[in-house]
Subunit: 314 residues, 2 copies
């Protein structure tokens, strides 16, 4: 009987692939370059080769695989299983990725966007594994999001639910790439946190950051740790926006847990405490809220776990 | 075979009761006073009497009822079936309403808050009947809300999902009764729309509203229709806040339709067009959104339809 599940997490640079047993125990994983220039047929063929090699190393073959899942950067038509276009993968246009991977592996394939897939990984075996309702944020260049309600990913009428990085937390505020103003992403993502610091330095604010040729989000956290006032204010604004989006999402889907992931959580407890503090300062007093605000636990593997879990649960 | 369903919609003043067939066709309805002072036992007994009379008038009896549903003002523990306390019904404290009504009627009873129940009514037979995902707002003294995702009410980890009246759309803005600032309810509910107009008049702004001893939301719409500048600005701010909460909820659960209900929609097309205009002005340009913003179609009956539907679908 086929008992294995494959999770595929596609990024612009690398494709991560994991092989799991029925309890979603990770048996082995591998990473291959995406080589997106070679086009979807070759990329999917290379995914297949990598999966077959991974299985062979474990003493299995494709006939032992019951289902697979794949997460890719959006936008896509997730119901139809088609990548419409992707800024990270320009050669993938109207690509029926779900069917192509299913043909390549000879098993059913589940498909969703990378943030939903990572969310489902954290929900299934990570920081949300013991609850039924979570909201998940990944803080990187942008802010990705996933929502699990009653144990299921909220996908929405068009498959575009959980674009919570574009919830407006500052009406009329900073322009976002998406065309809105004041999106939480345009304030509080890692890249926009760094951008706000750089702009303040350029505008002449005194800061230890001003000696740097280029400012990253990591730099801002480090200079805050050393007591720099500007860095402290920039991070406080980031945490305030994140605390506010937690308030708004609590009132929307009432999660038991809000999970933060992505590069920015390397900042550690200082970030988590700041988000919690700003949540507490902004949340209602009508009743005592019990939602937990925590960091993700699967790191870079959330995508392969989630993709395999989606394949298993589809 | 039992083929009927009963829907009970409890308000502070009246209890509405409807009797439905299996296709949720309304056979007959009745309204009785709540008489909340008499306490939960008497109130539930009177519900039972009204249901029995309603059935008798139709030529049926309680044994023809397969299930019932009841909606009440919050807050409650919906999973446990208990009204914890209710500002509108002060004698109902830790009242196991679901079990009490089930004992009274001799059938299974579903229970949720009044806004969720009305939402489910609109979803099942009203303005959302042909889609799977809606967000529902009722614009009255406060702003009630319900969310249906994948065809099911989103109830959340604690049963307190869809408190979207308390999504913050103006950080640091108007204080809300809930203890937050800038909630959409504190700006755009009927009573807060009237309050903002009254405060502006009191502050000395020139307006045709200034001759009124007391200003209602209806007055503000009427004076806007007659060209009053202050009334026009107040309604525009209301519509802007509602347009913004539509943007934020689109990015959260991606509804196919956003449905507005409640007393304020009597203002008609001028309100609906204003909400749509402010939605369009604030939504992203990343892709063309297809969500429809519409008015509810069941009016005051949404609660009994939704309660009966919840009973049927539980």
């Amino acid at each position: 009987m086929s008992t294995l599940f494959i999770g595929v997490d596609v990024g612009g640079t690398n494709i991560k692939i994991g092989c799991f047993d029925g309890d979603l125990k990770l048996l082995e994983k591998v990473s291959v370059t995406t080589d997106v220039d070679m086009g979807p047929e070759v990329v999917v063929q290379r995914m297949g080769e990598a999966v077959r090699q991974l299985l062979k190393d474990l003493g299995y073959s494709l006939k032992d695989v019951r289902a697979a899942g794949i997460g890719t950067p959006g936008p896509a038509d997730y119901k139809a299983g088609i990548i419409i276009n992707s800024t990270n993968m320009p050669t993938f246009k109207n690509t029926p990725i779900r069917q192509m991977l299913s043909d390549e592996l000879g098993c059913p394939v589940a498909f969703d966007n990378d943030a939903n897939v990572a969310c489902y990984g954290e929900f299934t075996v990570g920081a949300g594994k013991d609850v039924n309702d979570i909201v998940f944020f990944t803080l990187g260049t942008g802010i990705g999001c996933g929502i699990v309600s009653h144990g299921k990913l909220v996908q929405g009428a068009t498959g575009n639910a959980a674009e919570v990085g574009h919830v407006i937390v500052q009406p009329g505020g900073e322009p976002c790439n998406c065309g809105q103003r004041g999106c939480v992403e345009a304030i509080a993502s890692a890249s926009h946190t760094a951008r706000r610091a750089a702009e303040a330095v350029k505008a002449g604010e005194t800061s230890s950051l001003s000696i740097l040729p280029e400012i990253t989000c990591k730099d801002v956290f480090e200079h805050m740790a050393q007591g720099d006032a500007l860095a402290t204010r920039i991070i406080d604004e980031t945490a305030r926006a994140l605390g506010l989006v937690c308030v708004n999402m609590l009132h929307a889907t009432d999660p038991a847990r809000i999970v933060f992931a992505g590069g920015m959580i390397a900042a550690g407890d200082v970030l988590l405490q700041a988000i919690r503090r700003h949540f507490e300062a902004q949340i209602w007093t009508l009743r005592k809220e019990t939602v937990e605000i925590v960091f993700a636990s699967l790191g870079e593997d959330a995508g392969i776990f989630g993709a395999a879990a989606l394949g298993r649960d589809a």
